[in-house]
C-alpha cells in the first residue's frame, strides 16, 4: 500500500454554533470530531464567530484516499456501523483509532501520524 499523505488543514475548537456557521472555501472538508471540535482540510485561515476559538494548523494526522474496492478490505476490520456518505465515522480499525469519510467515489481514511505504521501493518 502506498504511503499516507499528511492531512493539511486547521484544527478548530469553538462553540458548536460558530463551527456550524463557518463558511468554508471551495475544496475544504469539515471533519466534525465533536460538536465543538473539527478538522477543516485545505484551509489556512478561517473566521469564526467565537472570540475564544482555538484555530491551529493541524499536524497530527495523515490520510489515505482509498477506492471503494480498497476500502472493502478495510471494512472487514471495522466493527462499528459505517457512517452515512459524507459523514465522519470514528472508531477502531484493526484496533487503531481512525476516522473515515465515505463518498460515492472513494473513502478518506485518516489516522494520527504516530499510528499510521500500526494501521498499515495491520491492514496491508
Amino acid at each position: 500500500m502506498r504511503a499516507p499523505e499528511r492531512l493539511h488543514g486547521l484544527r478548530v475548537v469553538a462553540k458548536p454554533e460558530a463551527i456550524d456557521a463557518a463558511v468554508l472555501p471551495v475544496g475544504a472538508t469539515l471533519l466534525r470530531i465533536a460538536p465543538d471540535d473539527a478538522i477543516i482540510t485545505n484551509v489556512a485561515t478561517l473566521t469564526l464567530d467565537d472570540p475564544f476559538a482555538i484555530l491551529e494548523p493541524e499536524y497530527a494526522f495523515v490520510h489515505w484516499r482509498l477506492s471503494l474496492d480498497e476500502f472493502a478490505e478495510v471494512a472487514d476490520h471495522i466493527e462499528w456501523p459505517l457512517p452515512s456518505p459524507g459523514e465522519l465515522g470514528q472508531g477502531l480499525i484493526a484496533g487503531v483509532p481512525a476516522k473515515i469519510v465515505i463518498t460515492s467515489d472513494d473513502v478518506l481514511l485518516v489516522v494520527s501520524a504516530g499510528l499510521a505504521h500500526e494501521l498499515a501493518e495491520r491492514l496491508w
Binding site: 475548537v13 499536524y59 476490520h77 466493527e79 459505517l82 494520527s112 499510528l115
Partner: protein, 726 residues
C-alpha cells in the same frame, strides 16, 4: 480414500463425515457415548489435524485427514505455538475475520427459519441466513447483537445485525441410564443417517427413551433392558423419543430485545423422566450420583448445581444434558426449572479464531522514530509510545547531560491548549496550586489530583501572552497520562458548566529537550540568543522553525523544551545535532533520563507513586495551596491533614551497586516498603533511591539487599537548584 485415526488408516466413502467414517469402521470417535451426528452433543469430538474438540460429525472426511481421539480421562494437551518476539510483532492473530452488516440475521434454514427470512424480506429488509448446511458454524450471539460464525474455509465472520432470529430447531434426547457411555448407541436420526450412508449397524434394538432401563456390554452395547423387564441382545441401540428439546443455546447466551427465537427452538417442551442412574453430562462425565451429592450439599438451584457439579459446562454447553438436568432439579425442587444461562461459545474455538482481528494496543511513534533508529537506539514501549531506552551506552548519555549538552525526544508529553472566558476559574478548580497569579510568559509546575486527593498526573501550566489580553494557557502532562488528563479536564469543565475550549495538541506538536550546561550555547548557535529564563516560556523561531520554548528542568541541568510542529521534528533535530557536533552533543534515552531525574528526586507518576499517593506522602505539599477556596481533592486533603501519615516516599542512599527497583525495604527483620527507583550515580559516588516506608515510626536507617541504606533528603544532586537555573 482413507483417513488416519490414532495413526491407523480407515476407509471412508464419498460424502462421509469423519464420524460416519469412524462408525463405518466399527469404531467410535471417542471412547463411547450416544452419537447424535447432528452437532448437538460433544460425544464425537476429537482432535482433527491438530485442533482438539472438533466435532467429527460436522467435519467432512478428506484424504489424509488425521484424527486423534481425546484421552479417556482428562483433556487433550494444550498445543502452544513457539513464542514470538513481542517487540517485533504486535499482531498475533492469524485467522482472517470479515465483518458484515445486515438488517436481519436468521440462524437456521429449516421451515421456521425460511419463514422468518421470507417475512423479513417482505418488509424490504436485508436478510442474511446462516445455517450449518451452508458452511456456517454459528458459535455465539453477543449483545449488539453480533453473531459470531466460523466458516468452512477457516475464516471467521462477525455479523452485526439489527435483529437476530434464532430458528435452530429441536434436538433429540440422549438416554441417561446405566451403561449409556458404551459404544454402539445412537439417536433415531443418527441411525437413519448411518443407514442412508450404508453403514451396517448389525442387530439393532430400537427403544423409546422413556422405556429404557439400562444397557450392558463390555465396551460396546450387547444387551438392552427396558422398564417392562424385557431384555434384548443387540449390536446397536437406537434410542428414539417422542419429545425433542429446543436448540435454544444461542438464545440463552444473550438478553437482547433484538434477538428472538422461533419455531421448534422456541416451543414448549415436556421434560424427560427424572434420571436415576447413569451419566447425565457426557462432556464433564457427571453422573446422577454427582448431582445428588451437590444437591444434598445445598446447591439447590440449576445454576448452582451446574457450577458445583460441572454438569453442562463441557463441550456442548448442555446440548445433551440440559433436559435431564432440568428434570433432576424439577423433580427435587417440585418446581418446573428453566434452563441455565448459555455461555458463549457454543462451539469450541481455537485461540486464533477467538482472537481473529484482535490486536495489542497500538504504540505510537514520534516523528523522530527514524532518527532514533539511525542513531542506534534501543526502542521500548513506554506510556503508549515507542521511545528510545538508550543509544548504546546510557552512562555516556548521562555525562553528556551533566557536563555538556544532550537532546531528548519528549514529543510524547501531553500538550493541551485551553482558552475561554472561564478558563482561569476552571484551572483554579482543577489544580491544587494558584493559577490566576501566573503571569503571561511564566509557567508553574502543577499536580493533578483526584477527588480523594491522590496524585494522578503532573505537568506544567504556561500562561500565554495574547495580543488581545484574553486568557490562553498551554498545559503539559506526562506521556502516559495525556489522554486520560484530557478526558478528566473535559469532564470536569462540562460538569461545572464552564465556558472553556480544550484542544489536545499532543499528537501534532513534537518536543525536543535541549539540556545540559551547554544547552544555552547550543541554542545560541541555532539562532536563539536570548532564551527564556527558568520557568519562563516564549514563542520564537529556532533553526528557522517556529517553536514554543519552555525553560524548566527535569534532568537537574538547564533545560529548554522546544515544542514545534511535528512535521518539522526531523529538521529541528538534525539542525540541533549538527550545530552541537563540535560540542559533543548526543541524544539521551529514557534510561539516562530516569537516572538524571532520580538524582534530583523528581518522582515519575505511576512509577514512584501509588494509587493512593497524596502530595504529603510524596513530600510535595509545597505544590498544594489548601487556603484556596476550592480544587479537586481539597476536601479529602483537609479531612486527612491532621492525621498521622502511615506511609511516605523517602529518598535513600547506600554504598555499593543499586538494588533492583521493587526491592523490599527491611527494618528489624520486617518488610516495611519497597524501592521504586534506584541508580548507582557515578556523579555522586553512591546509590540513590526513592522508596516507600509503610510502617511507622519511619526509620532513618533501613536494610536493602542485605546492606544498610540511609534516609536522605532530596534532591540528592544540586539541592539549591543552581544548575537548573543557570
Amino acid at each position: 480414500m482413507r483417513i488416519a485415526v490414532d495413526g491407523e488408516p480407515i476407509e471412508y466413502a464419498d460424502g462421509d463425515s469423519v464420524a460416519v467414517a469412524i462408525v463405518r469402521a466399527g469404531q467410535h470417535p471417542q471412547h463411547g457415548g450416544t452419537l447424535c451426528l447432528a452437532g448437538d452433543c460433544g460425544n464425537c469430538c476429537a482432535e482433527i489435524d491438530g485442533v482438539a474438540f472438533t466435532r467429527t460429525c460436522l467435519t467432512s472426511a478428506r484424504p489424509g485427514l488425521r484424527v486423534t481421539r481425546h484421552p479417556a480421562v482428562g483433556a487433550p494437551a494444550l498445543r502452544l505455538e513457539p513464542p514470538v518476539d513481542p517487540v517485533a510483532s504486535p499482531n498475533f492473530a492469524t485467522t482472517k475475520l470479515r465483518r458484515l452488516h445486515a438488517d436481519v440475521v436468521v440462524i437456521g434454514a429449516g421451515e421456521s427459519g425460511a419463514a422468518a427470512a421470507a417475512e423479513a424480506r417482505s418488509d424490504s429488509r436485508d436478510v442474511m441466513v446462516l445455517a450449518g448446511e451452508m458452511g456456517h458454524d454459528v458459535v455465539g450471539v453477543y449483545p449488539g447483537p453480533v453473531v459470531i460464525v466460523r466458516l468452512a474455509n477457516g475464516e471467521m465472520l462477525h455479523v452485526h445485525a439489527h435483529d437476530v432470529v434464532i430458528a435452530t430447531g429441536a434436538a433429540e434426547l440422549h438416554p441417561v441410564c446405566d451403561g449409556n457411555m458404551l459404544r454402539g448407541i445412537y439417536t433415531g436420526a443418527a441411525a437413519e443417517r448411518l443407514r442412508a450412508a450404508g453403514v451396517d449397524l448389525g442387530v439393532v434394538a430400537t427403544v423409546e427413551l422413556d422405556q429404557l432401563s439400562r444397557v450392558e456390554g463390555d465396551d460396546r452395547v450387547t444387551v438392552v433392558h427396558t422398564i417392562d423387564g424385557s431384555t434384548t441382545t443387540c449390536d446397536s441401540l437406537v434410542v428414539t423419543s417422542r419429545n425433542a428439546a429446543p436448540r435454544d443455546l444461542l438464545a440463552r447466551m444473550v438478553a437482547d430485545p433484538h434477538v428472538r427465537t422461533v419455531g421448534p427452538a422456541a416451543a414448549s417442551f415436556e421434560l424427560p423422566p427424572e434420571p436415576t442412574s447413569g451419566t447425565v453430562c457426557p462432556c464433564s462425565k457427571v453422573m446422577v450420583e454427582d448431582l445428588q451429592m451437590v444437591w444434598d450439599k445445598g446447591f439447590q438451584h440449576i445454576e448452582l448445581v451446574k457450577r458445583a457439579s460441572l454438569c453442562g459446562t463441557g463441550t456442548c454447553q448442555g446440548g445433551a444434558c440440559m433436559p435431564h438436568l432440568r428434570a433432576f432439579v424439577t423433580a427435587k425442587s417440585g418446581q418446573l426449572t428453566a434452563p441455565f444461562t448459555g455461555r458463549p461459545a457454543s462451539r469450541q474455538l481455537t485461540i486464533s479464531e477467538a482472537a481473529a482481528d484482535m490486536h495489542l494496543d497500538p504504540f505510537r511513534r514520534t516523528a523522530l522514530h527514524g532518527e532514533h533508529l539511525a542513531l542506534g537506539a534501543r526502542m521500548d514501549r513506554f506510556g503508549g509510545w515507542w521511545r528510545p531506552w538508550n543509544y548504546g551506552n546510557f552512562l555516556d548519555e548521562y555525562w553528556a547531560v551533566r557536563e555538556g549538552v544532550s537532546l531528548g525526544d519528549v514529543s510524547t508529553l501531553g500538550k493541551m491548549i485551553v482558552t475561554g472566558p472561564d478558563v482561569v476559574e476552571a484551572l483554579e478548580r482543577i489544580y491544587p496550586t494558584t493559577i490566576h497569579d501566573i503571569r503571561p510568559g511564566r509557567s508553574r509546575y502543577v499536580l493533578l489530583l483526584n477527588e480523594r486527593g491522590h496524585l494522578i498526573d503532573d505537568g506544567m501550566v504556561c500562561r500565554e501572552a495574547t495580543e488581545d489580553g484574553s486568557d490562553r494557557f498551554v498545559l503539559t502532562f506526562t506521556s502516559g497520562g495525556a489522554s486520560f488528563a484530557e478526558a478528566w479536564i473535559r469532564d470536569w469543565i462540562e460538569s461545572w458548566d464552564l465556558d472553556v475550549h480544550v484542544l489536545d495538541r499532543t499528537l501534532g506538536i513534537g518536543a525536543i529537550n535541549v539540556t545540559g550546561p551547554l544547552a544555552g550555547e547550543l541554542l545560541r548557535r541555532v539562532g536563539l540568543s536570548d532564551p527564556p529564563r527558568f520557568l519562563q516560556h516564549m514563542h520564537t523561531d529556532v533553526a528557522g522553525i517556529p517553536c514554543h520554548v519552555l525553560r524548566l528542568s527535569f534532568t537537574g541541568e538547564a533545560s529548554f523544551e522546544l515544542h514545534h510542529p511535528s512535521v518539522h521534528s526531523v529538521e529541528l533535530w538534525q539542525a540541533l545535532m549538527a550545530a552541537g557536533r563540535e560540542m559533543g552533543v548526543r541524544p539521551h534515552g529514557l534510561q539516562a533520563l530516569f537516572a538524571l531525574r532520580l538524582e534530583k528526586g523528581h518522582v515519575i507518576v505511576g512509577m514512584d507513586t501509588e494509587m493512593d499517593s497524596t502530595p504529603r506522602r510524596l513530600n510535595m505539599d509545597w505544590a498544594v495551596k489548601l487556603d484556596k477556596e476550592a480544587f479537586i481533592g481539597r476536601t479529602a486533603l483537609l479531612r486527612t491533614a491532621d492525621l498521622d501519615d502511615r506511609r511516605k516516599l523517602f529518598g535513600l542512599t547506600m554504598d555499593g551497586p543499586a538494588p533492583v527497583e521493587g526491592a523490599p525495604i527491611w527494618v528489624d527483620g520486617d518488610i516495611v516498603g519497597h524501592v521504586t527507583s534506584s541508580f548507582r550515580s557515578p556523579g555522586l559516588g553512591r546509590t540513590v533511591m526513592l522508596g516507600w516506608q509503610k510502617h511507622t515510626p519511619f526509620a532513618n536507617t533501613v536494610t536493602i539487599d542485605g546492606r544498610q541504606a540511609h534516609v536522605t533528603h532530596t534532591p540528592f544532586y544540586d539541592p539549591e537548584g543552581a544548575r537548573a537555573r543557570a
